[in-house]
Every structure is written in C-alpha cells, then in structure tokens.
C-alpha cells in the first residue's frame, strides 16, 4: 500500500513535467491544427544552449534557466517561420514533415555545439531526499511540481484574462471567424508558438536539472512524451494536457516499479493506442474539434 502511494506520488511529480510538455504541444496544435514534431528538439536546443552557457561562463542555475527558456523560444520562432508560417492554412502534412526536417537540423547543430553524447547539466537543488511520514521525497521533484503548477496556472490565467489569450481562444474556436472579427491571427499564432516553446523550455530545464544531464536523444524523448500526454488528454485541450501528463507519469511510475523500463514504455504506448481506438477524443477532449475541422475544410 505504501509502495502504491509512493509510486503514485513519484509519478505525479514526474507527470507534472509531462503535463508542461503536453501543454506546449496542445497550444500549438489547438491554434494551428498541426503537429510540431520539432517541439522536443526545440527544447533540447534550449537546454544545450543553457549547458553551453554554464560550461563556458560558469553561471548558476537561475541564469541557465533563463538561457534555456529564451533559447527554446528563439528556436521555436525559427521553426514557426520555416515550417508553419509559410503554409498558412493549407498543407498540414507538408508542415509536419518540414518540422521533422528541421528536427534533423537542430539535432546536428546541437551535437556541433557540444560534441559529447552526454553533457552535465547544472543541478538546481543540491539537497538530499527527505522523508515525510513513510514517504520519500526528492526536493527536485517538489520544485518540479511547484514550478509546473505555477506555469500551468499562468498559462490558464493568460488565456482567460488577457487580450492575447482572448485572441488565442478565438483562433482555437474558429480561425476564419477570428480573422473576420479582426484578430491579428498570424501574430497570435506566432506568439502562441513562442509561448509554447518557452513552456517547453521550462519543462526541459526542470527535467534536465533533475536528471543532471542532457543528451541529443532528449529531443525525441520530449516529443514522444509530450505527444502521448497530449493525446491521452485530448488534442487541443489545456486541462486535458495537464490530466494526460499526470496520468502518463502515474502509469509509468507504477509500471516501472512492477515490470521495469521496457514494459513501462510498452504499456504507455499501449494505453495511448487503446485510448485512441476506443475513445478517440482522449480523456478530456471531444469529437467537436475533429468534426469542426472537417466542416471547416469543406467550407
């Protein structure tokens, strides 16, 4: 019983970083209706810039965090300009494949920046794990949970209480209608893309600072975890992304404990496949999105 709760707690804390990854993904998907495969590599590029800065200039954890987030946002802007802006409202598959091509670019650029496969990433909290009752906590995990909650709250607030957020929600509802009522759609899309990449940067920093290391594989890892979490929660839904991330973290923690890492990944993908086949809208999404998109295409 104690193990069960401990695993759930650990899973929820790791899951909070998945939730952030999914949140960024879902912002891009919701506004643009397209998949940014280069999302994980964008974050990886930010983390590489942060590692480079810390190795080169010996800066502390907080400045590194700023470099990571700003770096991810700038690389995100590059991806948006090259893979999404030129296609406008058409050619969704082409922009997805294009984002894959840019993924290859980013990965090679990162290995040129830091040629070693494994690079040390500055740790955020040096404190040892502590116990609370029968349960063990890592300070990094608590910080991850706190920052992820704060970031998700901030995004939710921005979406519901700012002019930009209103623009984003209008574009998510209906892009053409948003254009007609005078929402500067291209600017909203660009800002949403940058915001999503910056959120990814926050997630990437938290994960890398917890693991104390970063490899070029981080890009693929972040893309797949973010994708699974987003799809579990339902495409384009902010609460869904959070729920999907937490659910994925908890499922993985239990499976890892019971069966080891291979079966853990097998089950994570299996759950995604089953959810898609049986319940295509995800945990919190609805069929409305897909139907609305189909109707929009017909018009």
């Amino acid at each position: 019983m104690i193990d069960l709760i401990q695993n759930t707690l650990d899973g929820a804390m790791v899951g909070s970083s998945y939730a952030l990854l999914a949140l960024g993904f879902t912002l891009i998907f919701g506004t643009m209706r397209r998949l940014n495969l280069a999302y994980g590599p964008t974050i990886m590029a930010g983390a590489y810039l942060g590692t480079y800065a810390s190795l080169r200039f010996g800066i502390g954890a907080l400045p590194v965090a700023i470099v990571v987030v700003v770096g991810a946002a700038l690389v995100g802007l590059y991806v948006e300009r090259l893979c999404f802006r030129p296609f406008g409202d058409s050619a969704a598959i082409a922009s997805m494949v294009s984002s894959f091509a840019v993924w290859m670019q980013i990965e090679e650029a990162a290995t040129l920046l830091l040629p070693r496969h494994l690079n040390a990433f500055p740790a955020l909290v040096a404190g040892p794990p502590f116990t609370l009752g029968p349960f063990l906590f890592r300070p990094e995990h608590l910080l991850m949970l706190a920052v992820a909650t704060a970031a998700a709250g901030l995004v939710y607030w921005a979406l519901h209480h700012t002019r930009f957020g209103l623009g984003v929600r209008t574009v998510i509802d209906h892009r053409r209608a948003a254009e007609i009522v005078g929402v500067p759609v291209e600017r909203v899309l660009m800002l949403a893309f940058i915001l999503a990449s910056a959120i990814g940067g926050v997630a990437g920093f938290l994960i890398a600072a917890t693991d104390h290391q970063i490899t070029p594989m981080f890009g693929m890892w972040a893309t797949t975890k973010g994708l699974i979490a987003m799809m579990l929660g339902g495409l384009g839904s902010v609460p869904g992304a959070i729920a999907g991330g937490l659910a994925l973290g908890i499922i993985e923690a239990h499976m890892q404990w019971a069966f080891g890492p291979q079966v853990r990944d097998l089950i994570a993908w299996g759950v995604l496949f089953a959810v898609l086949a049986l319940w295509p809208g995800g945990l919190m999404g609805s069929r409305r999105l897909a139907d609305a998109a189909a109707v929009q295409r017909r018009l």
């Binding site: 082409a94 290859m104 994708l227 897909a290």
Partner: protein
C-alpha cells in the same frame, strides 16, 4: 560495379519499399508514422523462415509480406474510426509497441550446433541465406530491383484502374468520395493491407541483405523518414517516393558532401522545398505536365514519321 555502389543501390531499392508503403497510405489520405512496424515484422518473419526453418527465400519473402498485411489489416480495423492526427498517432503507438515487443521477444532454436533466432535487444543475427546459397551482391541487387520494378508497374496499373482512382478520390476529399457512393473505410482498409504487405516484403529483403537486425533499427526515425520520402520526391507518381529515397540515401548519405553538417543542409533544403512544393518534386501537376508533353511529342514524332513515309513514296 564496386561493392560500395552495389550496397548503396540495394539499400535504396529496399528502403523504397517502405517509402512506397507510406505513400500508399498518403494516397488514401492517411498519414502513418508506423510503417516501420510492418517492415520489422516482415524482416523478423522472413529471417526466421530462412535461418530457422531453412526454407527458400521466396516463401520467406511471401511470409514477410503476409505477416505485414495481416498486422496492417488488424491495426487498420482497430483504427477505422480515426483519421488525421489520431490515425497518425495510433500508427506510431503501434509501431513503438512492436519495436518494444521485439526487444522482449527471444526465441532461439538449435541450427547446426549454434542457437539461431531473435534474441531480444541483442537482435537477430546469422541470417546467411545469400552467403550459403552463393548469391552475389550484384545478383541480389538485380533481384531487389526486379521486385521493385514489379511493384512500380503495379502502382502504374493501379493508377489506371477504378480502385486507383477511388483511392486518390478518398484521399483528396473523403466526404465527396462518400457522397459519390465510395466506401472510404473499405478503400482505406485495402490500402492499409497493401501498404503492410509492401513494407513486410521490404523487410524480408532488408534482413537478408544485412544478415543481422535489431529492434532499435525500426524506430520512429525510419517511419518518419519513409513518410518524408514521398513528400520530398512527390505524391503525383509512385516514382516520387523512390526519388525521395534516392536523394536522401543516394546523394546525401553516401557522398561525403557536407560532411559534419549534412543534416543542417539537408533539413534546410527539405523545409524550403516543401514551402515551394508542398506535395513534393513530382507532384500531381508536374506529373500531368510531363505526361502530356510526352504524349504530345510522341504524337508529333508519330505524325512526322508518317509524313516522311508518305513523302518518300
């Protein structure tokens, strides 16, 4: 021909199968990130048939294609309701499950004193059919391209049949296709099965070329690459995906061009190409232009030939 060139050309031919498999689904309007799953299944099945049962290559390849088609049909029926990104994600999920399942799959039997068979993450080696039967790399190259030629001919014939047109129609506008009385679900299921068979066949060829495979070779990268080949080369003709493979493996990977920053150059070129030509180099318009010009010049040549013969008389 030197061995390096033969190796590269054989590889291009084999990867073309999985690229054509992704292309088949793109024609039906579905994006699959998961054709590497059927490629892997075909590879394992065909390798097991020759290395463990000691059978001939042809039934082994057939077994690979059959396993690919069966699995693709099963996945296709489970995901019939899905379209767009949901389908793409479901295929990716299935492919990753397949890869991990092969990491856990160990089944070795004793063949001539040594254990042979898939052995989890350590892979599946000792598939020495070509070596044991004295098939030279050049002969195998010919065999691969003969099969590829058959498949391409099949695609050209398909484009001229009712089903081929229905396939393109279902891809271009599924709602309109339904209104015209076509069953989009059935068309897509058939396309998925054919695509699975193609990938399985390619996998069978692949395993005998390499003699050793491991689950890690069948990861997401292979799936997204095979999808990208069609979009780079063009969706207008089955030659498009082959052209895509040729550009990537033939020109860039095999030459020492841009060593060290090849991906930066290639990735940028692909991104820019897709902006100019979102459906690839040989898209429908390009294919139409080429075929109409060909027809016109053939017609002109035929007529001048006739005139000449008339004049001579």
């Amino acid at each position: 021909m030197d061995d390096f060139l033969i190796g590269v050309l054989t590889n291009i031919g084999i990867i073309s199968f999985v690229a054509l498999s992704a292309y088949m689904l793109l024609l039906s309007g579905e994006v699959s990130f998961g054709q590497q799953a059927y490629f892997a299944m075909g590879a394992y099945a065909a390798g097991m048939v020759t290395a463990m049962l000691g059978w001939h290559l042809v039934p082994a390849l057939l077994a690979g294609a059959l396993v690919g088609a069966a699995a693709a049909t099963a996945v296709g029926s489970a995901t019939l309701r899905l379209s767009g990104f949901y389908f793409a994600m479901a295929t990716l999920a299935f492919a990753e499950m397949t890869r991990i399942a092969f990491e856990l799959f160990a089944f070795r039997i004793d063949v001539g004193g040594t254990p042979v068979g898939p052995n989890g993450t350590d892979g599946f080696g000792d598939i020495r059919y070509l070596f044991e039967n004295g098939i030279t790399p050049l002969q195998y190259l010919m065999f691969v391209y003969a099969l590829l030629g058959l498949v391409l001919t099949g695609f050209f014939v398909l484009e001229r049949t009712r089903f081929g047109r229905a396939l393109r129609q279902a891809g271009a506008d599924p709602l309109l296709a339904e209104l015209q009385g076509l069953s989009v679900v059935r068309i897509r299921l058939l396309a998925a099965a054919a695509a699975g068979a193609l990938a399985g066949l390619g996998g069978g060829l692949y395993v005998h070329l390499l003699t050793y495979i491991e689950p890690a070779s069948f990861n997401i990268m292979l799936g997204v690459h095979s999808l990208a080949y069609g979009l780079i080369g063009g969706l207008g003709t089955a030659l498009g995906p082959v052209l895509g493979v040729l550009i990537d493996i033939g020109v860039l990977e095999s030459s020492r061009l841009f060593a060290g920053y090849r991906m930066i150059v290639f990735g940028g070129l692909v991104a820019l190409l897709l902006i100019v030509r979102p459906r690839g180099l040989l898209d429908e318009r390009a294919v139409h232009w080429i075929t109409s010009h060909l027809k016109r010049s053939m017609y002109a040549a035929g007529r001048s030939g006739l005139d000449g013969s008339l004049r001579r008389r």
